[in-house]
Every structure is written in C-alpha cells, then in structure tokens.
C-alpha cells in the first residue's frame, strides 16, 4: 500500500513537471534583453562641487561614442530627417512638412544639436565601445569627418531658420552621406575581422589568422574629403 502511495506521488510529480516545462516552451527561461555593448565607461562620480578652484577645467567625456551616437546623434538626425518626408496613411499620401513655428523650432533644436554633437565626439578621451579612443595618427581625419556632419547639420539649421523645406531635405541627404563616410572608417564591429578590414582599429585586434588589415594613417590623413556618394 505504501509503495503504491509513493508510486502515485512520483507519477503525479513527473506529469506536472512535464506539463510545466511544456508550458514554458523552449524560450521560456532564456529570454534576455540585448546585452550592453560595453562596460559602463563613467569614471566615479566626483562628489566635490565644481568651484573656481576645484573640479575639472577641461572637457570630460562621460559616455562612449556609441552612447553619444545612440542618444544624441541619432535622435537629433531623426529630428531633421523626419521633418520632411512623404508618408501614406488612412487618409492618403501626405507630404510631411513643419507646419508652424513650434514645429520649425523643433527642427531648429534638432539641427542645432546635430551640429554640436560632433564636437563632443572630438573631446580627448572619448572612447569607442570597440577599439577605444581614436589613435592620434587619425585624429585629423576623424575631426574632418565629424566636422562634415557639423557643416551638413548647419545647413539644415540655416534652412530651418529660413523655413526652407527644399534646403532642409537637401541637407538631410548630405547628413546621411557624412554619417556613412565616418562609419565606414571608424565604426568597428565586434569580432568581425572582415567587416573591420581597412578601418581604424585602435585597441581592437582581430583573431589570429585573419587577413584583415587596419587602415593606414598616412593615406587617411592625406586623403581629401570624400565626395558625397548620394543625393
């Protein structure tokens, strides 16, 4: 009789276990959000209030290039790009344009931010998530590419202040090209030697046996700014 009790209990437990596992499914316990790409870059918080005689007196980067890109560059660029667009909705095909001063001011804000953000990228000590800080031999080239984003955004800024839709759209294309030009050289992709071939590696190293080569400083420093490919 006691054996029967145990047999019944074990069978029931096994049945319930199988049922619960089936309910969870293969993905039930392994879901994960996207892993953060890098450790937190921030130095320890300085608890001393900055005064005339204390605290940093030089620019002090607090985020990776990727953070600046994701949370400032992309949002501000979207504010410029999305200001002029063509979309289709339930009521038809529409040309999206800033309609009033409030909307134009939003574009002005986005363009201003976009024009200024590249300056943040050039602060000494700013690191890339992959590859670390831009090596000294490439800083001139990097600054040139960053400045091109600033200049393109500045055209958007001027256009927005004039409420000039066509010039704003044209500036948007130049911004797009400027972004791509910089990414092609400085945006490293983790663990991808092929993708990182002829890019500025910094501290990044490919796995042994890779035939990929890093960008050569002299050729980039001397190179003239690339002509826009699009638009």
């Amino acid at each position: 009789m006691r054996i029967f009790h145990w047999f019944f209990a074990v069978t029931l437990a096994a049945f319930l276990g199988v049922a619960v596992t089936a309910q969870q499914g293969p993905g039930g316990t392994t879901d994960t959000a996207a892993a953060p790409p890098c450790d937190l870059p921030n130095p320890p918080a300085n608890k001393t209030v900055a005064t005339d005689t204390t605290g940093p007196t030089t620019p002090s980067p607090k985020g990776y290039v990727k953070d600046v890109m994701n949370y400032m560059m992309m949002t501000s660029a979207a504010g410029v790009w999305n200001a002029v667009a063509t979309v289709t909705d339930q009521t038809g095909v529409h040309e999206i344009r800033p309609k009033n001063d409030e909307e134009w001011n939003r574009v002005i804000g986005a363009a201003t931010e976009l024009a200024e953000v590249p300056n943040l990228l050039m602060i000494p000590g700013r690191k890339r998530c992959v590859g670390g800080e831009i090596p000294a031999a490439f800083k001139t080239d990097f600054a040139r590419k960053a400045r091109e984003v600033t200049e393109a955004a500045n055209i958007a800024l001027i256009a927005a202040k004039k409420h000039d839709v066509d010039a704003l759209a044209e500036a948007g294309e130049r911004i797009d090209v400027a972004c791509d030009e910089c990414h092609e050289r400085y945006q490293l992709l983790d663990d991808d030697p092929e993708e990182n071939n002829n890019k500025v590696w910094g501290t990044w190293k490919p796995k042994a046996g890779s035939k990929s080569k890093p960008a050569v400083p002299n050729s980039t420093a001397a190179a003239a700014p690339a002509a826009p490919k699009k638009g």
Binding site: G25, P26, D89
Partner: protein
C-alpha cells in the same frame, strides 16, 4: 483507500481523455467550402518613409546605391495590396494546432514576412539570415512576451504563442524593423502576397464574417455565405479616406441569395 486512489486516477485519466477529445478536429456539420479573394489598393501610388540604415553598416551594405523604404503600404501591379491579414471572425469548433512552427525570418534587415498569422499554442520560429545581430522584441499585451538577441549565424529560436492578439514585434537594434503576428484561435486566416490574393480553405459552410486588416489602413468586414464544396469569392478594396473600422456584424446586410456582401462605410 486503494479504491479512492483508483477512483482519483480514473477521474484524472477521464479528464485527460476529454481534453484530448476537445482538441480533436470536429467535422463541419454542414460541410466546408473555400473563400478566395483579392485585396486591392485604390488611390494614389503610396509612398513609404525612407529607412536610413547607416547606423548599422552591415545593413547599409545590403542597400548600396538604393534608398530602402519601410514596407508599410506595399502595392503591386493593378493595385494588388500585400500584407493584408484576412481572417474569419466568430466561434468555430476547435481544430488541432499545427505542430509545424510559423517562421519569422530576418532578411535584408527587415522582417519577412511583415505580416503573418499563427494559432494560439503554435510555435513561432525566428531565424536570422542577415549578416548582423538582431534583437527580437515582442510588444505583447496578452502574455506573448519575448526579447531575444539573435546573433549572426545564430540558431533559430522558438517561442510558443500562448494568447490571442495582434502581436507587434520590433528589433531594438534596428528601430525600423516591425512585424505583425496575428495569433488566432482558429485556422481560418490568410495573408495577401504581392498579388493581393488570399485563400482560406475548409471553412465551415454558412454565413461567415470575413475581416481584412492592414497595419496602416485598418480593418474592413464583409459577410459571405459559404456553401459546402464550393468556392466563394470576396474582394476587398482599401482606399485612402475610406472608413475602415470594424463594425458589429448585426449592422451588415446579408443578401438572402448571396455570397455577399456589404462594405462598411
């Protein structure tokens, strides 16, 4: 005591058997028919917003020399309207859930297909053909939650869809990527392809409410009378400015003789 345990075991077995019976297919009492149709876009040529993929150069490389746009309103030749989910609304006898998964692929830094149908209890398999990492994030309101990173050349992953809803899926890495999965409690659904055509087979005979849903254009409903062994045709037309919200079935007029049909206004 032993008798009590046997009784409990017998009752449990009976319950399990009855659950099994409940999920086995029930033959249509009046036979079944097929619904076919075409969904048409009528209006100016739609324009979709530009997608700027430069933030991920691996995606950008897939479109060199091209200007990718979001595939929200996809219209082909003769106004064929793609990515429209067509399904039957109502209560139906339960039918077995397919054991094969529905597949959501990531290709060219977009979801493919953009719109798909699935059954409650069916498995969703997510694959990645792209040369870049993706993040597959469901925005569920009903419990179909998942948020998974899927690496380049990563293995497909599978998720059981447990509740009915129109599930939106996005990629946290690529903000332009969106897919819609209609998770339904019956097998009577279809999604239009590039030709705008759809087919729903094995539909129980009788009056049926056919719904057509598009992510931008909303929903339309038509009534059809499905006859056993026959094919019924129902076409939908979506036009900008047309009211497309679903209306209660009782407001529709169903011709006594007919296959159809009233478009909502």
């Amino acid at each position: 005591m032993r008798k009590a345990l046997f009784s409990f075991a017998a009752a449990t077995a009976a319950t399990l058997v009855s659950v099994g019976v409940a999920t086995t297919p029930v033959a249509g009492q009046g036979g079944t028919g097929t619904i076919v149709g075409h969904v048409r876009w009528m209006g100016p040529t739609p324009v979709n917003p530009i997608v700027r993929m430069g933030a991920d150069p691996r995606c950008g490389k897939l479109y060199i020399g091209k200007r990718p746009t979001a595939p929200t309103v996809v219209v082909g030749a003769d106004g064929a309207f793609a990515n429209v989910l067509v399904n039957l609304d109502g209560s139906f006898p339960s039918t077995p859930v397919p054991t094969t998964p529905v597949v959501l692929n990531q290709k060219d830094c977009q979801y493919a297909p953009r719109v798909l149908g699935a059954r409650i209890g069916q498995t969703l398999q997510v694959t990645n053909e792209d040369p870049t990492d993706h993040n597959v994030h469901s925005l569920s309101k009903a419990g179909n939650d998942f948020n998974r990173t899927q690496l380049v050349n990563g293995k497909p992953f599978e998720v059981k869809l447990t509740a009915g809803e129109m599930l939106r899926v996005t990629c946290d890495n690529h903000s332009w990527m969106t897919a819609y999965i209609a998770i339904l409690d019956n097998p009577y659904f279809s999604v239009t392809g590039a030709d705008g055509m759809f087919t729903i087979a094995n539909v129980p005979a009788g009056k049926q409410a056919v719904k057509a849903w598009h992510e931008v254009m909303g929903m339309q409903t038509q009534m059809v009378d499905v006859q056993a062994g026959k094919t019924t045709t129902v076409d939908f037309t979506f036009a900008p400015g047309q009211k497309t919200a679903s209306a209660p079935i009782h407001e529709l007029t169903v011709p006594a003789d007919g296959n159809l049909v009233a478009i909502l206004r």
